[in-house]
Amino acid sequence: MSIIYILWLRQLKRYSRSRARMLASLAQPLLFLFAMGFGFGPTYQQAGNGNYIQFLAPGIVAMAILFSAMFSGIEILWDRQFGFLKETLVAPVARIQIVLGRTLGGATVAMIQGLIVFVFCLMAGFRIQNYELLPVAAAFMFLIAMLFAAVGTTVGSLIEDMQAFPLIMNFLVMPMFFFSGALFPVRNLTGILHGFLRLNPLTYGVDGLRGALSHGFAFGIVPDFLLLGLATLVLLAVGNYFFSRIEV
């Protein structure tokens, strides 16, 4: 436990000491919130769908968590290049403890980023519909954070330098964000695109978060929770597998 804790603490210290990183990873979700929220808001309203900010905000919170968690996982790459990874790999601890410590640390950082964005959403006019569902919203935030910190761990274990990074952003992170229902209702997509969306675990995270905070669940709270939880466990196992195979 103390090993998981100290590695978790390390991630938090690094986060709290890097204001630049904090601001940089807040910029993108906030840009989406304000540009999309206010830009498409009137059109969305005229189409009879109601207040767009009420719809969009949970998606933006999920986005902030997705990006931040992925980055935290990919920090393995930095640790590899700056050498610290070796220090943990020759330590007499099971790899799974290292993976759990890092993933929990990355997920906690992502949760904090998500909460900051959530406060901005409230300032942009978002209103919580069901206060008693706030713990459910927090649980979904945590699952999204864990899931993508685990994805980040997997990716960070597989790639060896930063040149692959744009590839990951453009072919993994951005598609997952756009095909998650974060920006528009899931029923807007049909056919193969709807298939993508249903295969994307973030879809259930966004739906769970939106269901708990404002709009009601498109797939139902139980399927959302089970599918997201299952994806998180699977990705943790995958992340652990690839992390254990790192040789430095």
Binding site: S2, I6, R10, R14, F82, E87, V90, E160, E247, V248
Partner: protein, 267 residues
Amino acid sequence: MTRDKVIVAHNLVKTFKDFRAVDDISFEVEAGKIFGFLGPNGAGKTTTIKMLTTTLAPTQGTILLDGHDPQKAPLDARRSFGIVFQDPSLDGELTAGENMKLHAVLYGVPRSEQAGRIEAALKFVGLWDRKDSFAKTFSGGMKRRLEIARALLHTPRILFLDEPTLGLDPQTRNHVWEYIQTLAREKKMTVFFTTHYMDEADRVADEIAIIDRGKIVTRGSPAALKENAHTATLEEAFISLTGHAIRDEPASAKDRTRAMGRIWGRI
């Protein structure tokens, strides 16, 4: 195996695709001895250290570290040694003290002993008054000293040093070797090091092995090596054994990991 052979390597082989980086080497190091592992660039030194320190699996052969096989019992093997890598392995965003604390927890140092051991180790390398400074603000020599202090925290029986004095000025190099000799003498620690500085190896090593093209070409005390090669200095003995040709090797650890990545067909 006798008890006082702390490091035993037996018929060790490591191949990357069709390249034999380490080609059937065997050696033993006795407890409390300072063992110098020398060789030209690309001779197989770092690959051997990686296998000894459990980060690379040997293709063939066996290793025993204080009686533990790194492949079968990696955690026991890891507890038995401390290592100072060729490149820094500190977290620059943490302070010196935090780097030490993290290591103490990773190696299961009892909580009640952590503070005392960290203080003693930092004082040993003269960095106690800098414990609250970020590691990224340290010079190369200070980083190296911090890494040595860190490697001692869990009182290992073996200390691996991969080019511990690389890039340091003569003053710092002398300091580092003084620390290391004190450790071997006072704490009965076995030291296994690599270096390109032959004068240093000559001065501090009890025993030396020279590896070239993956094979150990000679072994013995510095005096015996010079005598056998009929040379006045260890450097001349080294060159007469390994030749004058300049070896190619990827420039940095980063390049090496990338090269390895290509060999393994990763992205």
